[in-house]
Symmetry: none
Subunit: 195 residues, 4 copies
Amino acid sequence: MTPSPAGRGRPRDERSHAAITQAAAELIVESGYAAMSIGAVAARAGVGKDTIYRRWSGKPELVYEAVFTAADTTDLPDTGTLEGDLTTVVQSLIEEFSQPEAAAAIPGLLADFAADPELRATIRSRFLQPAKERLIEVFDRAGQRGETGAEVPVDLVLDTLAGAVFFHLGIIGEQPGPDLARRLAAMIAKGIEVR
Amino acid sequence: MTPSPAGRGRPRDERSHAAITQAAAELIVESGYAAMSIGAVAARAGVGKDTIYRRWSGKPELVYEAVFTAADTTDLPDTGTLEGDLTTVVQSLIEEFSQPEAAAAIPGLLADFAADPELRATIRSRFLQPAKERLIEVFDRAGQRGETGAEVPVDLVLDTLAGAVFFHLGIIGEQPGPDLARRLAAMIAKGIEVR
Amino acid sequence: MTPSPAGRGRPRDERSHAAITQAAAELIVESGYAAMSIGAVAARAGVGKDTIYRRWSGKPELVYEAVFTAADTTDLPDTGTLEGDLTTVVQSLIEEFSQPEAAAAIPGLLADFAADPELRATIRSRFLQPAKERLIEVFDRAGQRGETGAEVPVDLVLDTLAGAVFFHLGIIGEQPGPDLARRLAAMIAKGIEVR
Amino acid sequence: MTPSPAGRGRPRDERSHAAITQAAAELIVESGYAAMSIGAVAARAGVGKDTIYRRWSGKPELVYEAVFTAADTTDLPDTGTLEGDLTTVVQSLIEEFSQPEAAAAIPGLLADFAADPELRATIRSRFLQPAKERLIEVFDRAGQRGETGAEVPVDLVLDTLAGAVFFHLGIIGEQPGPDLARRLAAMIAKGIEVR
DNA sequence: AAATAATCGAGACGGTACGTCAGGTCTTAAA
DNA sequence: TTTAAGACCTGACGTACCGTCTCGATTATTT
C-alpha cells in the first residue's frame, strides 16, 4: 500500500480506505476474484477509481490487504509434543485461509502474484511470514525436548504444509475435514523427528 | 475438448488443431497465461477464433490440453525402498510441471479451474490421476515389504506432494533444487512408515 | 439467378428452389431484411448454404426473386381519362409493393442494390419495367385523346410516382391511405396534361 | 445523439466529437455506408469505440449526424410564381442530398431507419422538416397570389418531391440533370394550381 | 456396367464486425 | 492535494455471418 505523501493539500479520507477494503472483501465473496473489478469496488464503496489506484497499485495488492488483514494474534500453547504443536500451527493456517473471502481470493491472488516477477519472491513472506515465525518457535521447543536434531528444514516444512493447505482449500475447494490438520501434522512431525 | 459431432459435414482439420495447441504453448511461455488471448492464439495459428471456440470452451480448457498432453510413460523402477520409490514419483512430478509451458500456465490455470464450480472437482483427476496411480503402485510395493501398514492415506500424500511441488514451481517460481525431490520424499516416507 | 449449367451431373432439385424462396419470404417478414441471414434461410429450407449460393450471388438477388416474382398480370382497363388510367397504375404499384414481404424488403434491398455499382443501373428496369410499359400505354391513350402533347416525360413521371410510393411504403412505413393513388394520380395527371 | 449528463465528472472532449463525425463522413464516401464500421471510424478518429457508443446509439444515428449537419440557411427568395418557388425548394433539396457523403449514405441510412420501428416515424421530421417549413411558406405565398386554393396537400407534395429526389440521387444514383428541379417543380406546380 | 460429373445436406474454415467490459489514466469542479 | 464523477484509449471478450471449402452420399449423363 502506498503511504500518504507529504502533508500538503487535502488529507486522505481514512473512511474511504475502510469502505474500499470492505467493498472488495464483499465482492470477492459474491463474484469471485476474477469477476471482481476495480470499478465495481469503487462503485460499491462510493468512491472514485482513482482513490483506489492512489492507494494500491492494482487488484492483487488491494485484495491482499482486504482479505489478509487480521493479524494472527492467537497464542501458541505448548502442547508438549512436536506433533501437537504442529497441529496447532496447521489448524490456524486452515482457519485463516478458509474464511470465505480468503478461499475465494487465494487461487486468483496467487496466480496474479506469480505472474508478476517482482512479486513472486514476496509471496512466501507476505502469506507465510507469521506461520514461519510460529514454526521456528515450535521447532525450538522440539529441539529442546530432543525430538528433532539441529538442522530442521523449516522452509521445506513450511512450503509443504502451506502447499497442502492451499491445495485443499483454494484449489480443490474442499472443506477441510476436521482432522486434516491432525493427520497432516502427524505425518510431517513423524517425518522430521529424530528416531 | 468438445468432440467432433457425428460424421456429417466437413471434418475438422487436424492440422488446425495442432497449430492451435502449438501456438497456445508458445504464447504461454512468451506472454504468460493471463496475457495470452484467444485472439492472439488464433492469429498465430493462422486460424479463425471460431475454430478455437468450436473445439474448446475457453482459455483454461485450451491451455490444459496444449500444455499437459505428454502422457507420462516413464516406467517406475523398483528402487527397493519406499523412500526411493517416492523420490522417483516426486521427481517425475517435478519434471512434468517444470517444463516452461507448464510452469507458466499452472498458477493461472489452477485459478481458472478453481473459479469454475463445475471444474473444481476435476482438478485432482485431470492433473494428478497419473501420479495417483503411480502412488498406489508404490504403496503396494511398500506394503509387501512391510514398510507401511494397511491403511495408507493416498489422497493426503498426493495432495501434500502436489501442493508442495505446485507451491514451489508455480507459485514461488523457484527452480526446484536438485534434492527437493529427495528431501520431500524422505520426509513423507518417514512420516508414513510403520516405525 | 445463375442458370443451371450443361446437363452433366446431378440436376438441381427444383423443390429446393421453391423451399428457399419460400423460407426467404417468411424470414423477411418475421425478421426484417437486415436480420435475415443466408444461413437462417438455408436452415429453414432444410438446405445447405451452398445450394443457395449456387443459384444466387447473394442476399439481394435472392430476396429480389423471393419477393418480386408475381408477374403483374392484371389487365389495364381504359378508364377514359388520363387521371383514371394513372390511378390504376399507381394503385397496382401500391398493391405490389405493400405486400408484407415487399414492404419489409424494399428499403434494405434498395440500399444493397444502390451500394453495388453494377446493379445501380438495373434498379429501374428490375423494379419498374412493368410499370413503365403500362405508363407508356397510358400515355399513348392520352395522346390519342389529346390530353397530352407529343413529348411526355415518362421517366420523370415514373420516378416520381415510384419515389412517392416507395417513400410512403418502404421508408415512412405508412399504410397507404385508400385515396393516395387517386390524389397522387390526379396531381401528376394535371401536371402533365396539355392545358 | 445522447446528451452529456449532469455536469459531474470529466466533460466530453469536443474535439473527439468533431474527429468522429469527420472520420465517419470520410469513410462513408470512401467505403460506402454498409462497409463503414464503427471500429474503422474509431481508428481513423484516433478514438476508442466506447467514445462513439457513449454519444450515439449506433451507426445510423452517427451517420445521420455526420452527414446531415449543415443547417440549411439559404434564404428563400420570392420568385413571383409557385413554379419558381417550388423550383428553388427542389433545387435546395437536390443540393443538400447530392453532396457525396449524403448520396453515399442515404440508401443505407433510410434502410436502417426504416427497419427500426421507433425511428420510422422520425424520418419525415429528421430529413424533411426544414423542407416542409419552406413548402408551407411557398404555399402561403401562392395562396395569397391566388394560385392555389385553401386546401393544399403539403405532405403529399413533400413526400412526392422527396421521393422523386431520393429515388434519383440515392437509389438510381443518377447525377441529377440540371433541369430536374425545374421540370419536377413545373409538373407539381401545375398539378396543384387552381386552374 | 463403369466412369464421370454435378448436386445434395452438413458443417468446418479464415475473416471481419459486433457491442460490452475492464484496465489504468486523465480532466473537471468542489472541498 | 484529494475527492467523486466520469470520459478517455486500449484491447479482449464471445457471438454471428460472411462466402468458400470439404466431406460422404446421391443422381444424372457419357462411355
